[in-house]
């Protein structure tokens, strides 16, 4: 009984607090937590896209990447000179005529940068998307069909994961005498699908055991229809995230292979631009403008894709989405003198 008698003053103290300090309205709370309402036009998109678009990092990455893609697509219109031909004296400093200077061989760096972006981005995207598609096919079939199919496919996935990829690429690339960007992209796709196959298989296994898949099976849906209509839409963020990672890997690996001289030196990509800059010792002779443009281009593209991946990660894992706000919530609670231990 004593507990009951003590509750009375407690409730009184609560209501007193409320009277002295009226409860803040929703808008005030949102203002204090620095949360904005989602703009109306966002409501038309699926919730995954909404999450992505409200994430500053992801949107910033997407904008940077779009600018690069547009510039690469318009390369023939924007470039003042032919990137494959001599356009002036060797190592002309950046200036009015040559916006970013010329290379040791007298080629215009700005035109080469645009043309190189065209090739590098195309190869990166093709490699990333094909690797994801292979991984998707293998992973979904292994996860959904199970049994013998799963055992055989998982064996190949494990072999692809265990076999050292980059050295294998180097050896494969060395077999074709001069590896063109297309060949490098294909080789990268055929060696880079292991990870996405594995994550997609695990994801398929967990979705397969849900009720809605069972319901579709009981209704007598065809297997391919269950895969395409029921399972695939529920892991689209995994697939997109995997594709972004594979594209980063594709762009970086292509540049790395060409930098160490395994590509075809006559093609123009960011990797071969670095290769020529290293070959012609432009850093030693002070021609920084031959190294920095492709270097910065690779760095910014990589950074943009990483930012996009942060955005996609938050769709995949709600815990990460909550982590974005938890710093503000902690401060908010501290200001009110509440315990922050629950976080």
């Amino acid at each position: 009984m004593s507990e009951l008698t003590e509750i009375g003053p407690f409730i009184a103290s609560l209501s007193q607090g409320a009277q002295g300090n009226p409860a803040p309205t929703l808008d005030e709370l949102m203002g204090e937590l620095k949360i904005k309402r989602r703009p109306g036009f966002l409501r038309k998109f699926p919730s995954g896209v909404q999450t992505f678009l409200t994430n500053g990092k992801g949107v910033a990455g997407l904008i940077i990447l779009t600018v690069f893609v547009v510039m690469a697509a318009l390369a023939p219109l924007l470039s003042p000179f032919d990137p494959y031909r001599r356009a002036g004296k060797p190592h002309v400093q950046p200036g009015v005529e040559h916006f970013l200077g010329t290379s040791r061989q007298g080629k215009d760096i700005f035109s080469q940068l645009l043309e190189g972006g065209r090739t590098s981005l195309t190869v990166g995207f093709i490699a990333g998307i094909s690797a994801t598609l292979i991984g998707l096919g293998v992973g979904i079939s292994a996860g959904y069909f199970g049994g013998k199919v799963d055992e055989v496919l998982t064996f190949f996935v494990n072999v692809a994961l265990v076999l050292p990829a980059l050295p294998l690429i180097i050896v494969l690339a060395s077999f074709v005498e001069e590896a063109s960007p297309t060949i490098i992209g294909l080789v990268l796709a055929f060696t880079g699908w292991g990870w996405s196959a594995r994550t997609i298989r695990t994801q398929t296994l967990s979705i397969k055991s849900r009720e809605f898949v069972l319901a579709a099976e009981l209704m007598g849906e065809k297997k391919w229809r269950i895969i395409v209509r029921e399972i695939l839409p529920n892991m689209s963020s995994f697939v997109v995230g995997g594709a972004v990672l594979a594209t980063i890997y594709g762009i970086l690996a292509e540049a790395a292979l060409e930098f160490i001289g395994l590509g075809s030196p006559s093609s123009v990509t960011w990797g071969t631009m670095l290769y020529w800059a290293q070959r012609s010792q432009s850093l030693q002779t002070g021609a920084w403008w031959e190294v920095w443009p492709p270097a910065v281009a690779i760095m910014v593209t990589g950074a943009a894709l990483v930012l996009i991946n942060f955005g996609v990660d938050e769709i995949t894992s709600p815990q990460l989405r909550a982590a974005r706000l938890s710093g503000r919530i902690k401060k908010f609670l501290k200001r009110r003198g509440r315990s922050v231990d629950v976080f």
């Binding site: 180097i170 930098f259 001289g261 930012l307 942060f310």
Partner: protein
């Protein structure tokens, strides 16, 4: 134990796939090594000499006989004769380069792992805070800066422009490396930039991996219970959350250690470091197939052994795997 036995079976199968691939690759390519030597000597070779050469490289007899011979040699760690430095056995150069690579990439891998882990634990614990929202994206972005760019810029800044560190090589030219103070200083001084160039592009992925795994664990019931019991912050952070989050990281660490023998191609080329990456590249340029083959065999073995170690570690650290069949 059934789990480990099954894994062991898989690794053996994967090993067979790898070395069989390794056996067929040079045989699919246009021109075997003997033909190349024959061409290099511009045909100044008698047919019987040619036969001897074929025998020395294991290209005589039926394909099955060749394969048997290849396996037998591999069992004795006999990697054959170098195609380019003709009478030299491949293994001497291979093991010399492997030593330097083991040092360079090994040190770099453990440094990146340690730095990434500490930063990951910190930023997961204070998630959404200043450090987490600023340095997590920056560190991961460095991961996408590609070693080519980072190594070149480091080399330009600290070896050429300010000349703080040497331009290349593993030690001073006129120093014979040995187990003494002088070599230790020279070798570590020469290793600073190459190691840095690898660490800078690698620690970000460890950071992100540890952070994300930890954040996903922070709301688990056992963590809430630990907090409710009033355990100290420190104890919950390290003994409860970090200990569980470290499991997948240890698996990846074992894998990266296995790939150490892949060499750091770019850092080794830029800093002229006598490691496996640089020599493999040389071998590719001069078409020294026996060296490439030997390097791939070494790499496959180390990767498979590392995988096996990671399985054993997982069984030790994760008691759940001991009872069930393991999934």
């Amino acid at each position: 134990m059934a789990f480990l036995a099954r894994r062991l079976g898989f690794y053996f199968a994967a090993f067979m796939v790898a070395i069989t691939l390794n056996f067929f690759l040079p045989r699919w390519m246009p021109g075997d090594p003997t033909t190349r030597i024959f061409m290099a000597l511009r045909g100044k070779m008698r047919p019987d000499q040619m036969e001897m050469l074929k025998k020395a490289y294991g290209y005589d007899g039926s394909l099955l006989e060749q394969y048997g011979q290849y396996l037998w040699k591999l069992l004795h760690l006999d990697f054959g004769i170098s195609t380019v430095n003709f009478p030299e056995p491949t293994s001497s150069l291979l093991f010399y380069a492997a030593g330097w690579t083991l040092f360079l990439v090994g040190v770099a891998t453990f440094l990146s792992f340690g730095i990434g882990l500490v930063m990951g634990i910190y930023s997961a614990w204070h998630r959404g805070g200043f450090f987490d929202s600023v340095f997590t994206p920056i560190n991961v972005m460095m991961n996408a800066f590609t070693p080519a760019v980072v190594a070149l810029l480091l080399w330009y800044a600290f070896a050429l422009e300010w000349a703080v560190f040497p331009l290349g090589r593993a030690h001073d030219i006129n120093l014979v490396p040995g187990w003494n103070w002088e070599s230790a200083v020279s070798i570590s001084w020469h290793a600073v930039l190459p190691v840095l160039s690898i660490v800078l592009v690698n620690f970000g992925s460890w950071h992100l991996g540890m952070r994300n795994t930890m954040i996903n664990l922070l709301n688990e019931d056992f963590v809430v219970l630990a907090k409710a019991k009033g355990l100290s912050d420190r104890r919950v952070r390290y003994r409860y959350v970090a200990r569980n989050a470290i499991l997948p990281q240890i698996t990846s660490l074992a894998l990266s250690v296995g790939f150490v023998f892949g060499g750091a191609f770019i850092s080794e080329v830029v800093f002229n470091y006598p490691g496996l990456g640089k020599f493999t590249l040389n071998a590719i340029e001069s078409r020294d197939y026996t060296f490439i083959q030997a390097q791939l065999t070494l790499l496959t073995c180390s990767v498979l052994i590392a995988n096996l170690i990671s399985d054993v570690l997982n069984v030790i650290f994760d008691p759940r795997l001991r009872t069930s069949g393991g999934h």
